[in-house]
Amino acid sequence: MEKIKKYIIILLFIIVIAGLTALFAYINVLVLPNIQFAKYQSGLNIATSIDSTFNAEAELKTLNKKLDQLNKKMQRLTPGNAFLVINTTNNTFELYKNNEIIREGKCSTGSFISLEVDSTKSYLFETPKGVMTVQNKITNPVWTKPDWAFIEEGLPVPPQGHSSRREANVLGDYALKLGDGYMIHGTLYQRLIGSPVTHGCVRLLDDDLEAVYKTLPVGAKVFIY
């Protein structure tokens, strides 16, 4: 009985010590940062003097005029009637018309594969981020295969303009050229749409491609992030 009592008292000491440690840990980990932030905020929020000669009405007029000017400048920045937004992380797209999303869905963008040819030469299959412009629209596009398409297949690279570089019916019914060899086009591998599998171009499902092709005029903006 005495032994049990002794153990209970030892256990109580351990609980008291653990409780004290937990209490101080709580104060240091959670309470102190909150106190610091409150002090920081109140320290910065020093009162500013009120000028009795200040003309509030005139100031409001000036501010309203400034707001109008800024609004006009902002409106000039809007990317036109129709534009496309591509999310390369989630492989999704949003098609906008009159500032409203009219279609959204899956797409495929760059695989981030770096094809290492030798110690000096490599190809990185990445979709560039930023804003691009639709430079040209084509129906029934024919793919002109670049060097990496042969290297990737372990085939010898033919000279420029060789007939083996031209391949029809692999880019879908439409293509929108964005410059620097990048395009928005279709694919034979529809089941891979939604995964990062391309060489840098943006691939869409047939129906989505048709909608994008018909909505975006030449000169339309394509935002890629």
Binding site: L30, I35, A47, I50, K73, N87, L115
Partner: protein, 253 residues
Amino acid sequence: MKDFFKKYKFGFIAAIAVFVILSAFTVVRFIQAEKAVKLAIDEKKINFAETNVDNAGWNIPEIQKKEKEVHWMEQQLLLAKTDSLNLGINLADSTVQVLLKGTVLLQANILKQLPEHFSDFSNYPAYLDFTSVSKIVKEQSTSVKRPVKKVRAPKNENEVQEVKHDTIPEAPIIWQFVLNNNIEIVITGVGLGKDSLMEMNFNKDILKYKFEKLKENVIPKTYMPTLYIWLNDKDAKAIYRAIPGNGRVVFKI
């Protein structure tokens, strides 16, 4: 009673010793923390004096509202001049945005924000300091900006192998960055659990972050306010990958 104290002398000494050590440690930390905050405030106030901001209209709510609108637009236009993707943290609407040339490309809802009143700056210079375009000067993340996979080019057709893509989902992102106006932001992704519902562990996360801070800063020498934001993990990763290393950030409050 006397016998009891005598019998468990060691226990009492241990408890008192723990209490004294922890009290002393906490007192020292409180004093140092106070000094660190004062130093941070003084540094900010030097900047305020340099910008020479004097705005009598700020105390009138109607003018203050208009001033905020003007400032937000001015900052957006400033960002629109750059060709890079920028980050907009709109605490007024509880959203985080990816901006490019004045267009909002992605808007993610803030699931949780701590401290809740992070943006309560009633003073005009403090408001300007917080909401003017700032730049990321230091960042770290559990994810990578460009997940490059190196593949050796095959020497012939027989060597061609299909590239396998990762099927295991990546863990939710934790993205920490410091701005050039001495504000730290921690963005945490909230992923889906086994039941396809969002797994939100705000308390566990905040305890982990604050404990890490305590380890880094046992005796606080400097102070930097930290804003913790939780977003849907898909959005958080997309935002992290979109914003360049030294990206620009703008706040709306």
